[in-house]
């Protein structure tokens, strides 16, 4: 019960951080998608795609609601990246260490760029969407950094949740 509440609170807090902190304090539109997709990829790599799927969908939908975007778009990208992370990490045998962070950061960064492109395409019938090539280095670096931070924090969070779920808690 308490772990479910903690998970739900985490989902809401992540979305609020996106809408009221990252989108407000920084002018870059890429930071929040990068953080969101880092969470999705990290969950998929640590718990497996099937177990992570409900959480990934829920986080994506809540983020869409909080950040005033099209409902379903962030969630769809999160699910796609979560699946791709599991699939490619096994194919390329990059399931541990530095290579995992570089691989996941690349995936997250490129996913964020693709997300911005598709969002532009869905919203801009009057003109061709802009491919944000200039943001590629920023996307890659922020992807690697964000994935590292998020995966460490999520790991700690899961440890804390398993303590909450244990019979000795409280």
């Amino acid at each position: 019960m308490s772990s479910s509440f903690a998970r739900t609170a985490l989902v809401v807090i992540l979305s609020l951080i996106g809408a009221s902190v990252l989108n407000t304090a920084f002018s870059s539109p890429i930071l929040f998608p990068v953080m969101l997709f880092s969470v999705a990829v990290s969950l998929s790599l640590s718990r497996g795609f099937v177990r992570a799927l409900p959480a990934v969908v829920m986080i994506g939908l809540t983020a869409d609601v909080a950040t005033l975007g099209r409902i379903g778009l962030s969630a769809a990208f999160s699910v796609g990246l979560a699946y791709a992370a599991g699939f490619f990490s096994r194919r390329f045998a990059v399931e541990h260490g530095l290579m995992l962070h570089v691989f996941a950061g690349f995936l997250v960064g490129m996913g964020a760029l693709a997300f911005l492109f598709v969002a532009s395409w869905l919203d801009g019938p009057s003109s061709l969407p802009v491919v944000p090539w200039g943001n590629m280095p920023e996307a890659f670096v922020s992807g690697v950094v964000s994935f590292y931070i998020v995966s460490v924090l999520l790991h700690r969070f899961e440890e804390w949740l398993s303590y909450l779920d244990s019979p000795n808690a409280f």
Partner: protein, 273 residues
């Protein structure tokens, strides 16, 4: 379980969920979205206020720290400019007094012309071409859809498009979906003001025969009745022919920084002058 079967099951599960989510995003159901956004931003408004306040503080600190290196150069430049401006100031004093008198007599002061409601930004979304902000006033404070949001001395920022009980969503004029009537101050050239990919503002549908020059100020025309006339949108920065060469279009530079919005004023109604 067969590993291939598991793998295929995962693949089809991913495809099925993706199809549903992309269909939802494509459809973009407005009442459903409004309800969800309204509920979320009403329930979590207090938390959003705290987060936004912290992030504005952080942004100010970051800007202050990044400006320290430029302070010496800026100080020297300002000292020189101060000498020049002191000389200019004497000449301008007379014109300023005259201008002030004229402004007051025609009621251009924003606070005198409109009944304003002050609001603070608590969240923003910058996904793709759509620019939105969430403000901390809603239907309980009398906010209605269609109200104009301004900053400073009447610079139009956007229009309220969704209203929740304690908050509201403002679609910025840079939003690709926004369009309103504009007119240039002085020569009265009419056109349509549109958001340009969430990054800027364009001024289109201007007749080839109408005068339009760089530096012209574009104001709201009041056409349609939703947005009051005479609100500043920005200054014409570059002019080009439209794709079909039937019209001219221009880029508009707004004096407001859309990335740093914090306090906005909503126009409740126009005061009788």
């Amino acid at each position: 379980m067969d590993p291939n079967g598991l793998s295929h099951s995962k693949f089809f599960r991913a495809i099925a969920v993706l199809a549903v989510l992309f269909a939802l995003a494509w459809w973009d159901p407005s009442p459903f979205g409004t309800f969800l956004r309204g509920t979320f931003h009403t329930v979590f408004l207090p938390v959003e206020k705290v987060f936004a306040s912290v992030s504005f503080g952080f942004r100010d600190l970051r800007e202050f720290l990044s400006s320290i290196g430029d302070l010496k150069r800026e100080n020297e430049r300002l000292a020189e400019e101060n000498v020049r401006l002191t000389a200019e100031n004497a000449g301008l004093a007379f014109l300023r007094d005259e201008n002030e008198t004229l402004r007051k007599s025609i009621g251009l002061e924003i606070r005198k012309r409109f009944d304003l409601l002050s609001t603070e930004v608590v969240a923003s979304g910058c996904e793709g071409e759509r620019g939105f902000v969430v403000i901390d006033r809603g239907s309980m404070q009398g906010v209605q859809a269609g109200m104009s949001a301004v900053v400073g001395e009447g610079v139009l920022i956007g229009i309220v498009d969704e209203v929740y009980p304690a908050s509201a969503r403002v679609a910025l004029v840079t939003n690709s979906e926004s369009a309103l009537g504009g007119v240039t101050a002085g020569n009265g050239t009419k056109g349509i003001v549109r958001g340009d990919r969430g990054l800027g503002i364009s001024y289109g549908m201007v007749l080839q025969s109408d005068p339009l020059t760089q530096g012209d100020k574009v104001m709201t025309s009041g056409a349609g009745g939703t947005v009051p006339s005479g609100l500043l949108i920005g200054t014409v920065s570059s002019i080009r022919d439209s794709g079909d060469r039937l019209f001219r279009e221009a880029s508009i530079l707004s004096p407001a920084d859309f990335g740093k919005l914090r306090f906005l004023f909503l126009i409740r109604k126009e005061q009788s002058v």
